[in-house]
Amino acid sequence: MKKLLRSLVVPNRQGIHARVATMLVKKVMEFRSAVSFAKGRNTADGRSVLDLLSLGAAQGDQLSLEVCGDDAAVCADALSLLFEQRFDEEA
């Protein structure tokens, strides 16, 4: 079982709002791995929009991504790409 940790910075002006959280959850659902995002002491299940919104992650906030499973590497890459592409939103 692979476990990967990555540090990501929220890139977009509006932060992890509902549409972005839904986008992340839909991407996570494409994989088998368990995914969590943490901001400070608060951790969110990557399969829950409710959880992700409860982080209140704003632009510039640092998130710790933890991916655990046999497809962890491709899953972490796919999620990182969404951050790199700024969720198709303005900076």
Binding site: H17, R19, T22, S48, V49, L50, S54
Partner: protein, 159 residues
Amino acid sequence: MKFSDFILLDAINHEIKAANKAGVIDEMAQSLLDAGGIKKADKDAVIKSIVKREELGSTGIGRGIAVPHTKHSCVERLVGCVGVSHEGVDFDSLDCEKVFLFFMLISPPDKPSEHLRALEYITRQLKDDAFCRFLKQSKTKADIITLLEEADNNLFGSK
């Protein structure tokens, strides 16, 4: 941010009557209008804007909860209302379940951080199963007001 910072108590609806998504949005916008949160002249534009946002992807975020919202220049500060449907409404939610609890938010376009903090606050409370259960079981507007006050006094939610 607390409920008391943005929820208009007069716009709380403990008994959503609408049976579909468009109806809920209309009913809640009317509640905001009646409570003075938005002006009559802006109601149609606000509804149109919320519907447009829903077309990008449902704000039904699962677990029987939806947060229909929009940014609109007709408000100078974030305003919101709460609606409870006892029958549940099909809201095209991510988990395909009916929605019972609605939080509608209208925020000024130039303040994305306020919107984000309101979403954070609402979802932190809704992560608490007891808060969700009590809200669903609310029989009167006063029940909901009491619950929101209790939440603001840290009785619920993940800290």
